[in-house]
């Protein structure tokens, strides 16, 4: 009797231990499914698209003939839209983050702002597009322009920039601020000369990740009326004659790389799918490089800072 219960017990122990080991394998397997997908994705794009990545792919407009089509208008559009996005979202996001961490009092208004930022992260991106269509395109009269597109993406990534800024600022120890105050610095002097420079690494990481998300965003820009076939470039921002700088391009219709890719994927001809794969490859490389830089930034700043 005694012996059999002991045998049962050790059987149960070894069974549980086996299950434990099995789960370790299962966990590794689950992690590898994610990575395998990433590898298959890159491999699939490279196999189809690599052959199309020649210099003239970047210097030609889209065309009815897949062999001659390129992404010139798309990458110029992406560059200009991202310029508007970065110039809007980065200063506003950092300012909002600074306010919430350094200035805001604990009251209901601050609480509303904080809850609101957390909720904005869960709003589908296409809803931002609908809002921009109603407000920017028609109400404000910006039209279906680069300006509207840049502002739409700026609003979309604003919460990411704010959250990253707040986390980076929170990591600066209070003693740094107190040292500045003790020397008679004002709040803004303390913030701009000490807190912000020390948290720049973390903020930069967040900004890069936010911009990499904006580059790949497609749905909201389709909603506000981006063109899928465009065979001209916006007005050049720099002119040969006085006053040398022109902002006409802000009002220009546009296309961006993800939309160009979407257009090519949704065509039935296989030849166009190859173009789509090549565009996807360019997008993937840009995304991976930006995320790589962000990870490196985070790693370096974490290592260097010793309070």
């Amino acid at each position: 009797m005694e012996q059999s219960s002991q045998a049962n017990f050790s059987k149960a122990v070894s069974r549980n231990k086996n299950r434990d080991k099995l789960f370790a394998v299962l966990g590794l397997l689950a992690t590898f499914i994610g990575m395998l997908t990433l590898a298959a994705l890159l491999g699939d794009l490279a196999m189809d698209g690599l052959a199309r990545l020649k210099p003239h792919f970047f210097t030609s407009f889209p065309s009815r003939f897949p062999g001659q089509a390129g992404i010139l208008s798309a990458w110029v559009g992406t560059t200009l839209v991202m310029t508007v996005t970065a110039l809007t979202a980065v200063p506003m996001g950092i300012a909002a983050g600074v306010y919430l961490e350094e200035y805001a009092q604990k009251n209901w208004l601050t609480a509303i702002i904080e809850i609101n930022i957390a909720n904005l992260a869960g709003v589908p991106s296409i809803v931002y597009g609908l809002m921009a269509l109603g407000l920017f395109v028609y109400q404000f009269g910006f039209g279906q322009s680069i300006l509207s597109a840049g502002l739409t993406l700026a609003l979309l990534i604003l919460p990411i920039v704010i959250v990253a800024t707040r986390e980076a600022i929170r990591a600066v120890p209070a003693s740094m601020r107190e040292a500045a105050y003790a020397l008679g610095a004002t709040k803004w002097q303390t913030t701009s000369d000490h807190v912000l420079p020390y948290s720049l690494g973390g903020i930069l990481t967040g900004v890069i990740i936010a911009l990499s998300r904006a580059i790949g965003e497609t749905a909201p820009l389709i909603t506000i009326g981006a063109l899928t076939f465009i065979a001209f470039l916006p007005d050049a921002p720099i002119k040969a004659e006085f006053p040398f700088i022109s902002f006409e391009w802000l009002w220009s219709p546009f296309s961006v790389m993800p939309i160009q890719m979407f257009n090519w994927v949704s065509r039935p001809q296989h030849e166009f799918h190859l173009n789509a794969a090549a565009t996807g490859l360019v997008l993937m490389v840009m995304t991976l490089v930006m995320n790589g830089i962000a990870i490196y930034c985070r790693y370096r700043f974490r290592k260097r800072i010793k309070w």
Partner: protein
């Protein structure tokens, strides 16, 4: 600052300092102005929400002036662009729920397993490498995932299920599921790791294995955090646009069969936006009504998640 010292040198220095700061009031005014500008930037996030709510409600208001709410909820056809239009949102809602459902079937088990593995099994080095790579999955542009679903996963599935049509919800759902794994796994892992160490040690002291500790102690203890990870994953899946627009097709279809193609709410919005619709037409307003429906679905699940969390919240 009050000056009591009689030391002349100190006074002189003090004067210099205050004159360099443009005197007390100027300095204060500048500080105030800066604080006000910063405050406006923080307030802009609230303006975004108000803008979203206002636009959706305003345009939907006009839409429901033309279409009755009862037709909208009960009609089984969504044929806005046809000669004889029907405005029943149900086919788009089922399309959205089926694709999101498949996505959750993929993402929840995988994401939770990965979360337990990374927090309880993997060593520090393995985690430092695996986590960033996994998070790249959520950084990939969604249109690239759409390409992958349509031109890689669908042919793959077709070799298993020969009758599968080119546009189907199954392949879109699977790809969205893989896409949202990082959202589920990251937040769940944070929640599991936040469970106090003494609870973990108590379980180990009773002779439990890592698996028993994870499933019977840590996951229940971290349930509130894990539930918010699930809700966020669901919000992402419901709002996902490019994958469904490319892989599931743009044909509204009232069905729960994942092997068929069907438009989702988001795919419909994209389809209409690609055409050139006159501003102010009923079809134009219909995309805002669709968007409002999307927000309502997200809201319902968020409230459900909140109630669930409140019910099962563990406080240490």
């Amino acid at each position: 600052m009050s000056v009591n010292q009689t030391d002349a040198g100190y006074l002189a220095a003090q004067n210099q300092v205050s004159s360099r700061a443009h005197g007390g009031t100027g300095r204060k005014l500048r500080e105030r102005a800066i604080e006000f500008v910063l405050f406006l930037c923080a307030l802009s996030s609230v303006a975004i929400t108000l803008g979203i709510v206002w636009v959706l409600l305003y345009e939907s208001w006009h839409f429901f002036a033309n279409v009755s709410l009862i037709d909208f909820l009960t009609d089984t056809q969504w044929t806005v662009l046809f000669e004889n239009p029907h405005y029943g949102i149900m086919p788009l809602v089922t399309g959205t729920l089926v694709t999101s459902g498949i996505a959750l079937l993929v993402a929840l088990p995988l994401g939770t397993t990965i979360a337990i593995y990374l927090s309880e099994y993997a060593g520090v080095n393995a985690r430092e490498v695996l986590k960033p790579i996994l998070e790249l999955l959520s950084a990939v542009p969604t249109v690239v995932f759409g390409y992958f679903a349509l031109l890689f996963i669908t042919p793959l599935l077709q070799s298993l299920l020969p009758n599968l049509p080119g546009f189907n919800m199954l392949s879109a759902g699977i790809v969205i599921g893989i896409m949202i794994i990082p959202y589920v796994s990251s937040l769940s892992e944070d929640a599991i790791r936040a469970v106090p160490v003494h609870i973990r040690e108590g379980s180990y002291a009773m002779g439990a294995t890592r698996l028993q500790t994870s499933l019977r102690v840590l996951v229940p203890a971290a349930f509130s955090g894990i539930a918010s990870a699930y809700v966020l994953g669901f919000s992402r899946a419901v709002g996902e646009t490019m994958v469904v627009a490319l892989a599931a097709g743009t044909q509204p279809n009232l069905t729960l069969n994942p092997l068929e193609g069907a438009a989702t709410i988001t795919a419909y919005i994209v389809q209409v936006s690609l055409g050139d619709l006159p501003h102010g037409s009923v079809a134009y307003q219909s995309i805002f009504a669709a968007g409002l429906t999307l927000m309502c679905i997200t809201l319902i699940f968020n409230i459900g998640g909140y109630l669930l969390r409140k019910r099962f919240r563990e406080i240490y």
